[in-house]
């Protein structure tokens, strides 16, 4: 899982040259957000809409020249978390009953909703992972500020990104220390030790947060992150945004 990743880099495809990479980060974020919203707000059962979106997304992924294996691996890991949530929709009442066991029953409506939500989730995850894979995280954060996300929220996201590697490293050191004293040999012990480690990691994080805040104060921090200036939107950005909107509307028109 995440705790076993030794080096942690989100944006492995950010330095490639492709039409997608030529767009300024705020355009990429905007395209992704439009895509996610359009996909998520489409009523259940509109399969053709999502098929059109999927074709658009496939073209986007092809154009961005991102590493397909990494993209799929990430989506697969994230899907397992989603799967747990989605399972509940399968046993929904309504429609024709296809299978029944006690109070549990699978109906046509349940299957349709599960299929729709799973399709939507898959498309959204692919889009967002493509964005994160191809855009440097600092640029992504700046793009959020341009798009008027509250700066404090972006500052919190920036700290999370900055410190996740530090936390992973700290956890691994603790685990090594435990292994070095043969404390990880028995699985019952292991669970207990892991629990303690996570507890002490929490306390350390809290203390570190305090020290980081001191370091911020000592460099004149007054409660709001300083304002930055950004790259301007150019001609290709507007073209791609327009194309995205047209494509998204096209998907919706089919069912009108």
């Amino acid at each position: 899982m995440l705790l076993h990743i030794s080096s942690f880099q989100l944006d492995i495809d950010s330095q490639r040259a492709s039409p997608w990479h030529q767009l300024v980060p705020q355009t990429r974020v905007l395209c992704a957000l439009l895509f996610v919203f359009a996909t998520a707000l489409t009523p259940n059962g509109h399969w053709w809409t999502w098929t059109i979106y999927a074709i658009g997304l496939a073209i986007g992924i092809r154009l961005s020249r991102s590493t397909l294996s990494v993209l799929l691996k990430r989506v697969a890991i994230e899907s397992t978390f989603l799967g747990v949530v989605l399972l509940g929709t399968l046993f929904r009442q309504g429609g024709t009953v296809l299978w029944q066991w006690g109070s549990l029953q699978i109906t046509t409506l349940g299957l349709m909703i599960l299929g729709s939500v799973a399709f939507k989730a898959l498309l959204c995850l692919l889009m967002l992972n493509l964005l994160v894979l191809t855009t440097p995280v600092p640029a992504l954060l700046n793009a959020l500020i341009v798009l008027k996300v509250p700066p404090l929220l972006v500052a919190i996201l920036a700290s999370m990104y900055r410190y996740i590697a530090v936390l992973i490293e700290e956890f691994q050191k603790m685990r090594q220390a435990a292994t070095a004293r043969n404390l990880m040999r028995y699985s019952r012990w292991q669970r207990l030790i892991m629990g303690n480690m996570i507890g002490s990691l929490f306390i350390r994080t809290y203390e570190r947060g305090d020290r980081i805040h001191q370091a911020m104060l000592s460099r004149g921090y007054t409660g709001l992150p300083p304002a930055v200036t950004f790259s301007k939107v150019r001609q290709p950005d507007i073209k791609v945004l327009t194309l995205t909107v047209i494509w998204l509307l096209l998907g919706q028109i089919i069912y009108l």
Binding site: F8, Q9, V137, P138, L141, A158, S159, Y161, R162, Y163, A165, V166, R208, R211, I212, Q214, A215, M216, L217, S218, R219, G220, Y221, T222, P226, A227, V228, T229
Partner: protein
């Protein structure tokens, strides 16, 4: 540059659990002086440094930085005057990229885009980091020595008059430590260096302040105190390696006597 950037009178500080971290500290540091702050763990070094920057406010006594007393109303000016470099660079480098982190201080000062760029360039040059190579690097992927440089550059970019460093050579390999010493040697700033690295203190600082249980027990020439084995051991310290070897001691006997005479003339004191 202010001629007497730091002056502390009767400063005491207790932590909420009742620990008395500082007791009756009196201290004055002149411009461009390089002062080592040494003492055992828990002797109050870091607490004293945090007072210089107004992270901790004086409970009793007064800390005057330049012309300003350290109080809530003067904090912005005080923090622009004193740059504090923390012990662990991971605590200090909190922005994702090197550029963003170094520009954090100048941006908080409300400088224009060009001025910030100029400051960042200058600070990176001062610590020996190539702008093109490092500006866009992700902070968590740097080595320990590089992180230390970025941390110092982040403070230098604010153009402070006093640089306060907490354990600057901790966790550095010998080459990074040597580069750090050279860097600090070149910087024409008043420097207060809290350290356990007595060789570094000996090399960089002509003046040393020894803290023990929150009190100043020595304030004077570094050479003199580093030669006093009994005194150092009494306060949980030991002679620098460069002095601790017998042949070095022989070599320094003459210097010690010479210093003792000078010491008496200069009116420096043991308490």
């Amino acid at each position: 540059m202010h001629h007497n950037p730091i002056s502390i009178t009767q400063l005491s500080h207790s932590y909420p659990d009742g620990t008395e971290a500082l007791r009756q500290i009196n201290l004055s540091i002149r411009a461009t002086e390089r002062v080592a702050l040494v003492g055992a763990n828990g002797s109050g070094k870091s607490t004293l440094l945090l007072h210089l920057n107004g992270i901790l406010l004086p409970q009793t006594g007064e800390v005057v930085i330049g012309e300003l007393s350290v109080a809530a109303a003067n904090l912005v000016a005080v923090r622009n005057f004193v740059g504090l470099v923390f012990q662990n660079p991971d605590d200090q480098i909190f922005m994702p990229t090197v550029w963003e982190d170094i520009s954090f201080g100048p941006m908080n000062q409300g400088l224009s885009q060009e001025a910030v760029l100029h400051r960042v360039h200058h600070a990176m040059l001062a610590v020996g980091l190539d702008y093109e190579t490092y500006a866009a690097r992700i902070a968590s992927n740097l080595s320990g020595g590089e992180k230390k440089r970025v941390a110092i550059a982040g403070v230098l970019a604010m153009q402070p008059q006093v640089l306060a460093l907490d354990e600057p050579s901790a966790q550095l390999d010998p080459r990074s430590r040597r580069q750090l010493i050279q860097l600090l040697h070149q910087l024409p700033l008043t420097q207060v260096i809290a350290t356990h690295d007595l060789d570094l203190a000996l090399e960089l600082c002509s003046r040393t302040i020894v803290l023990s249980h929150g009190q100043i027990v020595f304030d004077g020439s570094t050479e003199v105190v580093m030669n006093d084995r009994a005194f150092l051991e009494k306060h949980a310290l030991e002679m620098p390696l460069s002095y601790a070897r017998p042949y070095c001691e022989l070599q320094h006997q003459c210097e010690l006597q010479h210093q003792a005479v000078q010491n008496r003339i200069a009116g420096q004191y043991y308490r």
